[in-house]
Amino acid sequence: MKPVDFTLHQPTSLEEALALLADHADTAKVLAGGQSLVPLLNFRLARPEHLIDLGRIRALKAIRRDEHRLSIGAMATHTSAGRSNAVLGSAPLIHRAVPHIAHQAIRTRGTIGGSVAHADPAAELPAVMLALDATIVAVSHSGTREIAAKDFFVGNLITTLQEDELLSEIRIVPSTGRTGAAFLEVGRRRGDFALVGAGTQLRLADDGVVKDIKICLTGVSGRPHRAEEAEAALQGKPVTQELLDTAAESVRDSVDPSDDLHATADYRRDVAGTLVARAIRAASDDAHRVTKGECT
């Protein structure tokens, strides 16, 4: 369990990193916290000749918010995002999802950009970013691209990021009004990749109907999953048990999980629906609490 020999680069600026990436594009991997990549290196499943560590680029660690945009730097750690009021205020689903990411030690080292670029369909953040319609900013020595999350995640550990690009930033349109969120998971142990995870963010309009509902799922298909039919079932309506049941059933119909050592596909399919119904209920309760001014 020793990695194949590689050269470690530790640039201190984005420009320097991009130049290195341009030089070694086809033989380099970008290290952004290392909580997935380092095990892959040790298992020799990843065999880069050059490792470009972004850990010393301060500019990539920033989390900023203005009226129109929440911006999370790629190298912001899970912990810093979880503690950020800007994140809580504009994308509470991220805030709810962070405690489910592995264990504290991993959240301290692992980064938002690293997780999104790794694109593990069992991980929390790729699914969350998909549901939040996040914009992924990809930079290279030749320029900057903005990629919609729905166009970013292609398959299991596969994204549309090019070899000479790195993910620099994630942008999200801030939520408004009475927005609540919830993230639920079932894992065999706490901190494991979940068997199934479900997250919901929604806004309650003044008349109590659901607006801007976003539902995501992990572990139910080969890529991060968004439950658009379930969203449609709730959109513009008040939360009722009947609608929750409808949403759950539509989720069960739409997912395509597989069997593995830890759970059957049938189990995952059923529990996906169950968790989505619970997550919508919990997000709605959360939005009600926002109205009452309770601390979240």
Partner: protein, 819 residues
């Protein structure tokens, strides 16, 4: 007189006085001396040892569960700078003997590196030696092996089918051994019963998974003809088996026992590792080091544990009296059986559990499959058997609609019937099972537990209480070897201690084993302190190596507390005898008129007349003129102790005294289950435990906690699984799930004390505590919840959320049926 090995006939079992409550150091809270260095990160493990010039090994493993090795191409690997050599199975086999088989299976050859064919995915095919481990791994990637895949068998129930592929064609069958026993009045007891409950259950493959993988370093000194070995071992006969395989005399192998072992509970055998590295060290004339990485360890370290299919039938009367028990068991040993099938024999010594059942049938089969080998695991087969028995007891309670605690209480062997001979010929030494059950009920606050269960149920969730009442046989000789293979006629399994009182009066105890976290140094110091009346904190405990030490069989089955405890007692007696002889000479009285009283020798007719420790020691070491004539100078004793109740071969019907001492534990656990997800939360956990006299309460508590955590892992999380293609699915901690602090609840524990009449201070074994009953209790809690909710019990471990989800749904097939 003193340095001679002492004849065991001077120690008789009945001699041990009942000393409960009269101890000075025993059973008292005292620091565990090993803990300090572990907590400070100052343990010294094999990984910390690296003589100058050490080279490193990585293994080329088989990707196929079963394949012929057509050819191995080494050139590319050998050309890599830094690679020193590559060893293949053919080369190694030419110069070494096969590894030891304990069954009589001459056609089943077990070797460190595969010869001709590989029999499981992960089996070692070649060893690459290089200047660093990373370079050795680079070299291993360049070794090209041409395989011809063969049909494989993974399911043990298929392995017994004559149509199944043969793992060892030369043996002619996948069945390695098959033993059937019937003891007592089987027919009469079956007639007396009004019904019986039969439960098929599956204890899937798991193990004790140590934090430290196996490691070994060997260095050959050609000028002294000496192979020095440091290894992460817990292995009886490791030095002599390595020597035998290497075809060198056993006095040319010096195994150092003064290394810390980072976890074992049975699995740190490492015989193939030791032979491989010993061979390389002799051939290359440089120190050779091999530390398994986690993948090598999990897929090919031959350290998996029991993998069993049970059918247990309990016959009972309408009042719930058990009359007969039948246990059928099929155990999947993996590709090379080695010592593991012997684990089918240990449960014969506790075949009726704590219950008064006068007849039993036991049908045990061991099969080979294309999986990595099994090895001894905590309890040596007892924990799976306990689980299967307790599952059947719960089934009887369900059939009779009877309270599970009362059913157990009704069938417990009562205290007045000890020593109690079970039908398979073993006598249980002592026990107060109902009292321990009462203790557990009080510790758990059963009334409150029941209320909590009912209130969880009322809230719409599932809840259940689990019960297990289980035995822990301890301190055995290895007579199970004889039971499974009459050619093994070993009838004792000795343990030894040297006690030295030096010229300044300082006391040193020397043992000749390594420890894997069982706190032997604390235990030995406490016992020596108690025996001699000196403060245990002042007693040094050191470890001799295998050449300068004495007979020792390693700490298996709690043999240290029991058998080493015996050796310490006898050695201390000899020291005291010598001190009294000196004292009597000084006091001018007879030996019989003296007493040894807390380091002084006293004239019992006039207690003011005494010779103190310092003077006794000074005479023994330096003052021949004050010694009785003919006395040997010094205060130095070795005693080698037999195991209690050993010395007899098994009778033709298999009756035999297996283990001498029987600890007992009762678990009560409350499980809460989310019906939507099948997720289990153990919300309350209580244990009452009885291991006789406690030597150190914190060590006992640690054992009970750790063993319970281990059992929770078995019940809910841990499995070495394989897919249909024979590939291991649990090759890392991503998939082999160990319970963490999140999963293991607070455990409330109480101790009861029924001393053993067979040990120096009434102590029994505790090394397997908690593990004996936890899996049974947790499974019982889940099944209580499932049955109350109209679901089916799950009789296969580990119980995953998806199993619970399935058991609650009528349409899907039950694992109980499929097992």
């Amino acid at each position: 007189m003193t340095t001679d090995l002492v004849d065991e006939s001077s120690v008789v079992e009945e001699k041990y006085p009942a000393t409960v409550g009269s101890h000075v150091y025993l059973s008292k809270h005292a620091s565990v001396r090993e803990d300090r260095r572990f907590v400070a990160g100052e343990g010294r493990y094999v990984g910390d040892i690296e003589p100058p010039g050490t080279v490193h090994v990585a293994i080329v493993t088989s990707p196929h569960p079963h394949a012929v090795i057509r050819s191995i191409e080494l050139d590319e690997a050998l050309d890599l700078p830094g690679v020193i050599t590559v060893l293949t199975g053919d080369e190694l086999a030419a110069d070494t003997e096969p590894l030891r088989q304990y069954l009589d299976v001459p056609e089943v050859q077990w070797r460190p590196l595969a010869v001709g064919a590989t029999r499981y995915a992960g089996e070692w095919v070649a060893a690459v030696v290089a200047e660093s481990r990373a370079l050795a791994e680079d070299g291993a990637e360049l070794v090209m092996v041409d395989y011809e895949p063969l049909p494989h068998v993974i399911d043990p129930e298929w392995a017994v089918d004559p149509e199944a592929p043969l793992v060892h064609p030369a043996h002619g069958s996948n069945i390695m051994t098959e033993r059937s026993f019937a003891w007592g009045d089987v027919e009469g007891n079956r007639k007396r019963a009004t019904a019986s409950a039969t439960v098929r259950s599956r204890w899937n493959r798991n193990s004790t998974v140590p934090l430290e993988t196996f490691g070994v370093i060997a260095e050959w000194d050609q000028h002294r003809d000496l192979l020095d070995v440091w290894a992460s071992i817990q292995m009886p006969q490791f030095p002599e088996q390595v020597a035998a395989s290497l075809r060198i005399p056993s006095n040319q192998v010096r195994v150092h026992f003064d290394v810390d072992v980072g976890g074992s509970y049975g699995v740190k055998r490492g015989i193939k590792h030791g032979v491989l590295v010993g061979y390389l060290a002799r051939r290359l004339r440089v120190p050779v080091k091999f530390i398994e990485d986690r993948t090598e360890n999990m897929n090919g370290g031959d350290f998996h544990g029991p993998d069993r299919v049970f059918e247990v039938e309990i016959a009972y009367t309408e009042t719930g009296e058990f009359t007969h028990i039948r246990i059928d068991v099929l155990d999947d040993e993996g590709a090379y059986p080695g010592r593991s099938p012997l684990q089918l024999a240990k449960p014969i010594g506790a075949i009726v559990g704590p219950y008064r059942i006068s007849s039993a049938e036991y049908n045990a089969r061991a099969v080979t499959t294309n999986k990595t080998g099994q090895v001894a695991v905590r309890g040596f087969g007892q924990a799976p058997t306990n689980y299967a028995i307790e599952a059947a007891v719960d089934a009887v309670a369900r059939d009779l609609d009877m309270d599970r605690l009362e059913l157990r209480r009704k069938n417990f062997i009562p205290p007045e019937e000890f020593p109690y001979r079970i039908p398979s010929g073993t006598e249980y030494d002592s026990g107060e099972y109902a009292a321990v059950l009462d203790n557990a009920i009080e510790t758990a606050d059963l009334e409150a537990l029941l209320r909590e269960r009912d209130s969880i149920r009322a809230s719409g969730k599932l809840a259940g209480i689990g019960v297990a009442s289980c035995l822990e046989p301890g301190g055995g000789n290895a007579i199970f070897e004889n039971l499974m293979n009459p050619r093994n006629d070993k009838t004792t399994f000795p343990e030894a201690c040297r006690i030295r009182v030096d010229g300044t009066g300082a006391v040193t105890a020397i043992i000749s084993i390594s420890s894997a976290g069982q706190s032997h140094e604390t235990m030995v110091a406490t016992l020596v302190g108690e025996e001699l009346g000196v403060d245990p904190d002042t007693v040094a405990v050191v470890r001799a190596d295998s050449l300068s030490g004495f007979p020792s069989q390693s700490p298996v089955g709690s043999r240290m507390a029991i058998v080493l405890g015996r050796a310490i007692h006898a050695a201390a007696d000899l020291i005291k005898t010598k001190l009294r002889t000196i004292g009597a000479h000084q006091l001018g009285c007879s030996f019989e008129q003296t007493e040894y009283c807390r380091t002084s020798v006293v004239d019992s007719n006039d207690p003011d007349r005494r010779i103190a420790w310092d003077e006794l020691v000074a005479i023994a070491h330096r003052k021949q003129h004050k010694m009785p004539p003919g006395m040997e100078p010094g205060l130095e004793v070795v005693h080698v102790a037999h195991t209690p109740r050993s010395g007899t071969l098994a009778a033709p019907d298999g009756t035999v005294q297996l283990y001498p001492c029987y600890s007992f534990e009762v678990h009560l656990v409350l499980a809460e289950i989310d019906p939507g997800t099948g997720k289990v939360d153990l919300t309350k956990y209580a244990i009452s435990h009885d291991c006789g006299t406690v030597i150190n309460p914190d060590v006992v508590r640690g054992m009970v906690y750790g063993g319970t955590a281990h059992g929770i892992g078995v019940a809910l999380y841990e499995q070495f699984a394989f897919n249909r293609d024979g590939q291991p699915l649990s090759g890392s901690f991503m998939d082999y799930l160990l319970p963490t602090a999140h999963e293991v609840p607070d455990i409330v524990e109480s101790e009861h004390c029924t001393p053993s009449p067979l040990t120096s201070h009434g102590q029994k074994g505790v090394g397997e505590a908690g593990y004996m009953g936890a899996a049974a209790a947790v499974a019982g809690a889940i099944n209580d919840a499932l049955v109350a909710a109209g679901g089916r019990p799950v009789q296969s471990l580990p119980i995953k959320p998806s199993d619970i989800w399935s058991a609650l749904r009528p349409t899907s097939s039950s694992r109980e049926d499929r097992s």
